[in-house]
């Protein structure tokens, strides 16, 4: 029987595993996390009692449902938590599991690797107390911690209001919810969002909650700086009217939407294409998630669609696997799943207009802002390198000349902003700035893991 390996135990990976198991397969489910659920449905660390129903709010039912389904599925699949897939070579995965390097052969690979925050740097963003929005949620769901007592949420994302509402419900103070996209642009994007009224209403409800609680909610802001002496003390920004406003806080959560984790897809042979709507490089797949022979992508790691789309696309990828293995037509329910995934992803594309990636603001960043925090490379150093004779003109050469994107995160954090800086300096299209190429290891691996190499 074909060896089917799924990477990622979020809603997409779990749904794919469930469907394959139901059809008589015994998939291996690898997950970097210690517990299933992915980022959105992340559950507390063992031994920690958290009121997840209160925390998840309107999504509590789905949270409970997914974990119940996984509990039922777990005995019937080969589930391997704590497994970092760091390289792919032909039909071989390179994994670090419990500190030991291993390999795993596969015939079919479903990647459901999820997404991470997309970040825009600003002066002071490397101060202790500044987190990604996702990091702020991980602290809450996994550890039951706030990132601060009084938290400012900055960026351009519907998740700002969601995370703020989770924080507020559990007792944190919210200094401000500040969105860089002007309100008028949100209204203009509204028609495109009406195909998913439930998601739209939920988003509006979070904002309504915040406003009723007296939390300042600002649209069309220009971030000025995170201030503080050794730690975050305030977020300074200009509001839509151009007034400078200072919000005292001890933590800032930054989120400008999500960015698919495509490194493994790239290593496995997926082709990446520039998507102008998201201004991101996304793996090319068909509607069912086929990216290359034997390679299927599902969930936010393929295209941002949110948890519901992830679940549907996981099932869809599994249907595609079954159809391809059996050389049969896809099951009847695939049609409905396709329509659902298409609708939910279209909604996200609409959101990308309502919560826009602030290209002009990134290009206007002051020279002294650190762009690459791993290697401490400033925006000005990038501009200087590009301006010199025979200077680099695309992101990989900029990386070679400046070290931007060369550090621990391998450009996962600074990459999207670097792309805009490079495109801006040369006045070229985002796609022409190039794409930081993925290399194994996709995440750092310790020398000691190799010493203990196991088959």
């Amino acid at each position: 029987m074909a060896e089917i390996v799924i990477v990622g135990a979020g809603p997409a990976g779990i749904s794919a595993a469930e469907l394959l198991q139901a059809h008589g397969y015994h998939p291996i489910l690898l997950d970097e996390g210690r517990q299933a659920g992915g980022q959105g449905y992340r559950c507390p660390s063992p031994g920690l009692e958290l009121d997840m129903a209160a925390l998840m709010g309107s999504e509590a039912g789905k949270y409970a449902g997914l974990h119940a389904r996984f509990a039922a599925l777990r005995p019937h699949i080969d589930y391997r938590p704590g497994s970092l897939v760091w390289g792919i070579e032909d039909k071989l995965l390179h994994i670090v599991q419990a500190g030991v390097a291993r390999t795993l052969r596969f015939d079919v690979l479903i990647l459901a690797t999820g997404a991470m925050d997309r970040i825009v740097p600003l002066p002071g963003w490397t101060l202790p107390g500044v987190y990604t929005l996702g990091g702020a949620q991980v602290a809450l769901k996994d550890q039951g911690c706030f990132i601060g007592r009084r938290v400012a949420f900055l960026g351009s994302s519907p998740l700002l209001a969601l995370a703020a509402s989770q924080y507020r419900r559990l007792g944190a103070e919210i200094a401000v919810i500040a969105d860089t996209t002007p309100f008028a642009r949100k209204l203009a994007a509204l028609p495109g969002l009406l195909n998913s009224p439930r998601s739209l209403l939920r988003g509006l409800a979070y904002l309504g909650d915040a406003m009723r609680a007296g939390v300042p909610v600002l649209h069309g802001v220009r971030p000025v700086a995170v201030e503080g002496d050794g730690h975050v003390e305030a977020l300074v920004l200009r509001d839509a009217q151009g007034r400078e406003r200072r919000f005292a806080c001890d933590a800032v959560a930054l989120g400008y939407g999500l960015k698919p984790e495509t490194q493994l897809a790239e290593l496995a042979g997926a082709q990446l294409l520039y998507d102008e709507r998201f201004r991101l490089w996304l793996p090319k797949t068909d509607i069912d998630g086929r990216a290359a022979p034997g390679l299927y992508l599902a969930g936010d790691g393929a295209t941002i669609g949110g948890a519901d789309a992830a679940e549907a696309s996981g099932a869809l990828a599994a249907h595609a696997v079954l159809a391809d293995l059996r050389q049969s037509r896809p099951a009847a329910e695939a049609g409905g799943l396709r329509r659902r995934v298409t609708r939910l992803r279209a909604f996200q594309a609409g959101l990308a207009r309502a919560f826009a990636w602030p290209v002009a603001q990134i290009r206007a960043l002051p020279d002294d802002v650190p762009l690459c925090r791993c290697e401490n490379v400033s925006v000005g150093e990038i501009r200087l390198a590009m301006a010199q004779e025979l200077g680099p003109v695309e992101v990989n050469r900029v990386k070679a000349m400046t070290r931007c994107g060369m550090g621990r995160c391998q450009g996962r954090v600074c990459g999207p902003a670097l792309q805009e800086i490079v495109a801006g300096e040369r006045a070229i299209a985002g796609a022409d700035a190039g794409r930081l190429r993925a290399q194994a290891p996709v995440k750092p691996i310790a020398l000691a893991t190799a010493a203990a190499d196991a088959p």
Binding site: L390, R397, M401, R408, L447, A450, A451
Partner: protein
């Protein structure tokens, strides 16, 4: 169509081409350098950065030492230091046979005037206490150095440009013709270059050019895998090489440890890619942890490689064409071109302008491939299963 006129046209914007352009421009030659991509992007920019004098091909010492003298004054020459650090090179032996090998290398180095320290276990523990106790002996050369390859070639090219050389990037030479004593180079961007002399420094792509003039060399491409760790407190000054080829490593002052290891892997010059197989990463990590156990908790964060040209006798082609007056070749540096780069550029400029160079380069003639050459013993150990071309 643009027509450029030059005294010397250089094909290839790697380290060799850039230094040649620099020394020629310095002597008021009109130089046009044509690079198919961007300067310093292939092995010139992706190599280990070692300026090693120990253990070189014996016939290369005069060139190597001359080149090292240029490296030692790089800042005066081009105005940038490019992270040049003269921190020495340590050769490690794990057993008696290897010890004999590094002592034989040392004898050659010493016969050319290089100062070598011969170190036993006690001295090694005293100077580098974190070194594995498996090391039975070592030789140290303080004049060996390192530099940052990513920075050097663009910096040399900039210096050449400021001396008046013309640099044409993203332009591929498609055809070269000689009529009388003048060459005409055609390119894929429509630029045409007329020149009295041509330097073929096209690296892994150089044979196609040589063959237009009825000569060849059994060049094949390969990629040396390289790896780098996250920053670790600075403790390793010299670059350190196990003579068994399992690992070579150095630490830069900002803390990252750069490592590489044999065997080299296959590379694809058509697709312009030299991927690093994950298995190589693991074996290099294992080898480093064996030599420096203190680094066991250190993480590898990045890997890379580049396409280098190799020849079966593991020494380069440097010198005049055997068929065509005015044409000079400098390619196939077999993974050790970084150190001799400036010296090769200087010698080429002398051959063109003075009709010859005092530095002996006879072993590197392209003519040696008219007969079958002896395949280097390094082949079996230093490459993945590859048949050396004949």
């Amino acid at each position: 169509m643009t027509r450029l006129s030059a005294d010397v046209a250089i094909i290839g914007g790697g380290l060799i081409g850039a230094w040649s352009a620099y020394f020629l421009a310095k002597r008021n030659q009109r130089v046009v350098l044509i690079e198919k991509g961007v300067v310093g992007a292939q092995s010139s920019g992706t190599n280990f950065g070692n300026l090693r004098l120990q253990g070189r091909f014996p016939g290369q010492y005069p060139l190597s030492l001359r080149s090292q003298a240029l490296w030692e004054e790089i800042e005066e020459l081009i105005g940038e230091r490019c992270e040049f650090e003269q921190t020495g090179h340590l050769y490690l032996a794990f057993d008696g046979t290897e010890h004999e090998k590094i002592e034989a290398y040392a004898a050659v180095s010493e016969s050319h005037g290089l100062a070598i320290e011969h170190l036993g276990p006690t001295e090694l523990r005293r100077r580098w206490p974190w070194l594995s106790h498996r090391v039975v002996g070592a030789t140290f050369s303080a004049r060996d150095a390192t530099a940052n390859p990513r920075l050097v070639t663009p910096a040399v090219a900039r210096a050449a440009k400021s001396l008046g050389a013309t640099m044409v990037e993203n332009c591929r030479v498609t055809e070269i013709r000689q009529a009388g004593s003048a060459f005409t180079l055609r390119t894929d961007t429509g630029i045409e270059v007329g020149a009295g002399y041509v330097i073929n420094a096209a690296g892994a792509w150089a044979v196609a050019i040589a063959e237009q003039f009825g000569e060849s060399a059994p060049l094949f491409p390969a990629g040396p895998p390289q790896f780098v760790t996250e920053p670790f407190p600075y403790l390793i000054e010299p670059s350190i090489q196990a003579v068994d080829g399992s690992v070579i490593f150095r630490q830069i002052p900002r803390g990252n440890v750069i490592l590489a290891g044999y065997p080299r892997t296959a590379a694809d010059p058509a697709a312009n890619r030299a991927p690093v197989p994950p298995g190589k990463t693991l074996s290099a990590m294992r080898a480093l942890a064996r030599v420096a156990p203190t680094l066991a908790s250190c993480h590898v964060i990045r890997v890379w490689s580049g396409i280098e040209g190799y020849l079966p006798d593991m020494i380069p082609v440097i010198g005049p064409s055997g068929t065509t007056p005015g044409l000079f070749h400098a390619f196939g540096f077999c993974g050790h071109g970084f150190q001799i780069g400036p010296g090769v550029g200087l010698c080429l400029s002398e051959m063109i302008l003075d009709g010859g160079t005092a530095t002996p380069l006879d072993p590197f003639s392209i003519g040696r491939f008219a007969q079958p050459v002896e395949v280097s013993a390094k082949f079996s150990a230093e490459f993945d299963t590859m048949e050396p071309p004949r």
